[in-house]
Symmetry: C2
Subunit: 712 residues, 2 copies
């Protein structure tokens, strides 16, 4: 990419002029100035005042050219015979010059003629659209698609956050459905990928440098094997854009979040001795959950609550307080929050509803302002609170929860939070934290990402969300965090109906789902397609070791499962290894003659445990294989628990030799396979009964993460 | 559609000529003859021998036209100046005639000139491809897509079995991704849908009438608002096509299947007293399963087996036998099968493997021939057998199974059969039958469809398959059967990797998945995307009453579930009702002021049981609502089982008043919701814990069926 030589003051002057004239769009010449400044190729053009100049200009830019009259007195150029397209030679250029001038004089004898514009004429090439939009959550995004029906009818377009890197830009060329078109079809030539990527990067830089550009369209761009030229540029500006959401520095976020999530002392504002009250449930959860820090109930009158000395206000509490849990009606929150500010409490957990989600945005604005004034980070409002199991902390009115482990989950909705709790308990999925984010007046998913990133108790982060208040902050955090810990997201409000429901639920602006999809990919986020998938990924992905390569092998007792598992591999972008001859022969030694080696390795249904053992051991030992998918078929010869225990034995035996590979299992059989699946899961092999899809989805998620993190 | 006037003997003659000349393609003029005969519009053309004739011809077909020299001595017409395109007027036609003749003479003075071909020139319009292919399983199919990159790069093409009806053809126009293109985009005009549909129907009729046409392409067809003309026709023929699979009449199928599935007497060939042997397991399952008919063990030497008198051969059995279950090695099957023939046993259940799937197609061919000779229907080989619960019949070596109900399932694979058994038992899904089809040497899915269609014990049919040996027979049966009973299919081998695995598993030819997809749609088949979905649909769809209209309403305690449920509605093609004002007001009366009416109706999380009751009752009572999706949020105020029992109460109360509507539920909460889900399911409300997707998928499947069956 050429260095961009910018005359920033000139560009600034251009925008100032547009602003002073009250315009919201740039003229074509203004657009060209910006393109030239950023090295975005547009057709060359020049003004010729004589036929000789026209010939020389055309020669320098190359034929064919278009020639047009330039006269303040002629508005309808074509009508005046003032346009000639497809001028192919010096001779024609000279003749056209004379003809246009003559036509103009005939059309309007007293017309002032400034000259003839000579413009490079674009012919052929693949029509491309490169553009930029401004998203309420993600800010500037660069867009790429093929011209014509593909963008218009099939919405075959891809986005990246701006500024985009060359790698981002190149990934856009492969990110559309019709990507093959760029490689040349029907005997056509492949386009110049570097030139297109370069143009994408330049556009993304331009809109990042000048935030007043809210929309930009290069449409069409003609791409050929030799380069790319934008035939038309359209730029829309807005000088009155909303203030960005304040973003504390990462260190500040981490410091505050550590205090909130791992507090030395918790105050419960609205603590109550009366069963059924939220302030009572919160107290009980703190106490019964086993939290070891100080607990300070706050109540206007009570002396003590549930055996703990009560205080009339947080300001009356003798020691420091890190987290204040609010269990009082919305209208009292602002007052109590100010007291938290005076007490220098860094975090407020705002359980109450009755704010933006209930048609009272002014109440929410008020508490946000107080939070900023006193530097209190706000979780909520309109939430169930949160759990942080390493500290035995249940700062919530929901059920207490104590299944410890390494998955950190969050949800924007209380109902989904309860589903997380139920699933986690039922599936014995150990969690480090469950956090309710609700209205996200302040603390957002990116704050959680920053905390969990440095939290040694967390190995995977799974988030349910309806919108991102600051998508850019999220994407930046996710891109960094996902390099070390998988980030899984279930984005609700994907569809128009879902978006409508989200807006009336938490006031969420669900946004353009294609943008979420592309930004998630750009940030290394694993997107879950369903609530169950979010939960299954949170459970299964941390169980699996990271694969060291792309070669997946299926070993199955049930041929039918092998077929469905193969389909699932393709669906989940897993590569079934092409079996080398020597390995094929090695597998064949262990299986009956009517079994099938290749991949899947079909050991057939009637085999004894030893056959499973031999083949799986071989699969683990051979260095060319990187992951195994097991298909089990329940028979009398190899009952479910025999299979399960044997697989764990083989796995442990290999682990002792330093061999660790991801393994998942699909179990087909009578109800006893459910116990076997549980045993396998508990021992590091994610396994599912009656399903060929779920185990492969979990393995696929692990691979997606490893690829995004650059580990493959 | 105009009546087609066919001169069949002329067409026959044309094909005979092609055959005798050993060609595998028709010439353009031959193609035109077929198109003309079938009323498929192609450009008009004619031979002019004078300039006057050229003028008159061009005038009759309309300008512009193309004019071309016709001379046996001029091969390279363009080189000879023998072609003029874009002839726009009588004047130009006359001049062109003279010019072409003059050019020809200049080019080759002694050239014999037969005249000038005048051909209608097609300009503009949407480029379309209409074609036909021959599929090994489905036979003749008609194909439709848009010209250019859409078919080539995006594979945006749709198929229907030929002959296609007008409705089929019209559905193809909506069956492509780029369907909007046909309605006019970028200010273009919509194409003439009837003309395109008409052309599709005619093509489908042509290829059906002449099976020797194996491929046909009209590419491009130019479609405008006034009609459609095929600019080019390409026809490939094959006079040596494989024999179709024999197809007994429906009545014969039903008679035989009734004998096999509900036999008065069963013989077990290879019965054994030795535990662990397949012939022993089959005997035990028959006896312990509670089968009330006669059981005849067949064994060369034994006097009796498990208390039943044994016979050395089926021919020695005194009474009639309806079903013979084979539990002997492959090599002995043919001999025993002949004896079944002599005994006039109508059905053989061939458990043994070692046939086509194991590289011994000749063994399979042999038994198929015996089956045909003696009119014995063959199930398998390479199967687990089958269950028919209304007769307490377990004709299998797998576990006995006795959870009676109305779902009939089949699988091509034994492993999948075991998964069906395990899931059915675990989920308490009552089944009428589970059938293994394996290699499908004879009995195929369409035979099962014919049986289950008339089987009063079956309400839904769910089939796992890797291929269809006779896709056409299946589609015809499914189209009929699905009008009264839902048919759900899981097609394995969807992907290239899956297809490869299927081929080495049961020798299945997985075929083009897009064709399966389209034919399933054309036949009213509900396609399951995964094994779990097949099972969940089999379980849930028969539980639900048939909806009377498309208006779906979500009533939820958890707003977050409401958002995800809305997304799931869109994914599953369900229509969220736009809430009429009066109904909105009626719902609002029952919910707190900060709840949201509209759709979803968000009653909010803290509500008592009565709020769920009031709103659900209203939803059931109001005639404008046709189905309900419930979102439950576990709270202390409304515990899971309280909610579940109340919902069933309301449902039963309404049922007593004659009101029945499909209801499904998504339960978000702690582990107690699992028991509640089970209770709801058992009482007619399919419910899932920790999932917003699964209940909506089940409702979506019910709707898909109802639409396909013409009930909506």
């Amino acid at each position: 990419m050429e260095t961009i030589m910018l005359d920033r003051s000139a560009i600034r002057g251009l925008f100032d002029k547009v602003k002073s004239e009250g315009r919201d769009a740039l003229t074509a010449p203004e657009g060209k100035i910006l393109c030239d400044a950023y090295g975005i190729k547009v057709p060359q053009e020049g003004l010729a005042k004589t036929a000789d100049e026209a010939v020389s200009l055309a020669g320098s830019m190359g034929f064919p050219v278009v020639m047009k009259i330039v006269s303040p007195d002629i508005l309808h150029k074509t009508e005046a015979g003032g346009v000639v397209v497809g001028v192919k030679s010096e001779e024609e250029a000279r003749a056209s010059y004379d003809k246009i001038v003559a036509n103009a004089k005939t059309y309007k004898s007293d017309a002032r003629i400034a000259g003839i514009q000579v413009q490079q004429m674009l012919t052929g090439g693949q029509e491309i659209i490169i553009g930029a939009v401004t998203d309420g959550s993600f800010g500037k995004l660069v867009a790429f698609g093929l011209g014509g029906v593909l963008v218009e009818v099939l919405k075959d377009i891809t986005f990246r956050m701006a500024p985009a890197t060359r790698e981002d830009a190149l990934s856009m060329l492969d990110g559309i459905q019709a990507a093959e078109m760029l490689k040349g079809v029907r005997g056509g030539e492949a386009v110049d990928r570097e030139a297109l990527a370069d143009m994408i990067v330049r556009v993304s830089q331009l809109v990042s440098d000048y935030p007043e550009i809210v929309e930009l369209d290069l449409n069409p761009v003609f791409a050929t094997k030799d380069g790319a030229i934008a035939a038309d540029v359209r730029i829309v500006v807005d000088f009155d854009q909303p203030e960005p959401r304040p973003r504390p520095a990462k260190e500040e976020i981490v410091a505050a979040m550590n205090k909130i999530m791992r507090p030395r002392a918790v105050a419960v504002i609205g603590a109550s001795a009366e069963a059924g009250k939220i302030g009572n449930s919160v107290m009980k959860n703190l106490i019964n959950g086993g939290y070891k820090g100080e607990i300070y109930p706050v109540h206007p009158k009570a002396e003590e609550i549930l055996g703990y000395k009560a205080y009339p206000s947080v300001t009356a509490i003798p020691g420091d307080v890190d987290t204040a849990v609010f269990a009082i009606p919305a209208k009292f929150v602002a007052g109590a929050l100010k007291e938290c500010g005076e007490k220098k409490i860094p975090g407020a957990v705002l359980i109450p509803s009755g704010f933006a989600e209930a048609g009272a945005p002014e109440l929410q604005d008020e508490i946000v302002a107080i939070g900023r004034e006193y530097n209190i980070r706000l979780m909520g409002p309109n939430i169930y609170g949160f759990y942080y199991t390493p500290e035995n902390l249940c700062a919530t009115f929901c059920t207490a929860f104590d299944v410890k482990g390494s998955a950190a989950l969050s949800s924007q909705s209380g109902g989904i939070g309860m589903a997380i709790i139920g699933f986690s308990r039922s599936a014995k999925m150990g969690v480090s934290a469950i956090v309710g984010l609700g209205n996200k007046s302040d603390i957002d998913e990116d704050d959680l990402l920053c905390f969990f990133e440095q939290d040694d108790n967390t190995k995977i982060i799974a988030q349910h969300l309806e919108d991102l208040k600051d998508g850019r902050a999220f994407a930046e955090a996710a891109k960094r965090v996902s390099k070390t810990k998988p980030v899984v997201v279930l984005k609700a409000g994907r569809t128009s109906a879902g978006a409508k429901a989200a807006s009336s639920h938490t006031g969420a602006l669900a946004g353009n789902d294609k943008i979420y999809e592309d930004v998630f990919n750009q940030s290394g986020v694993i997107r879950a397609k369903s609530l169950r998938q979010l939960l299954d990924f949170a459970r299964g992905v941390p169980v699996l070791p990271t694969p060291k390569g792309e070669n997946v092998v299926i070993i199955t007792g049930a041929g039918g499962s092998g077929v469905l598992l193969s389909d699932a591999c393709v669906d989940n972008k897993l590569s079934l290894m092409t079996m080398p001859d020597d390995l094929d022969a090695a597998f064949r030694k262990f299986i009956p003659p009517f079994g099938a080696a290749g991949n899947p390795v079909d050991i057939t249904g009637g085999e004894p445990p030893q056959t499973y053992k031999n083949t799986v051991k071989l699969g683990l030992e051979d260095e060319r294989i990187h992951a195994l998918i097991l298909g089990y078929w329940h028979t009398i010869v190899t009952p479910p628990m025999v299979f399960a225990k044997l697989m764990v034995e083989v796995k442990d035996e290999m682990k002792a030799k330093g061999i660790e590979k991801p393994m998942v299992a699909s179990l087909a059989g009578d109800v006893e396979v459910e116990e076997a699946a549980e045993y396998l899961y508990a021992h590091g092999i994610p396994a599912y009964a009656y399903s060929t899809e779920l185990p492969v989805e979990v393995l696929g998620a692990k691979y997606r993460w490893a690829r995004g993190a650059g580990l493959l």
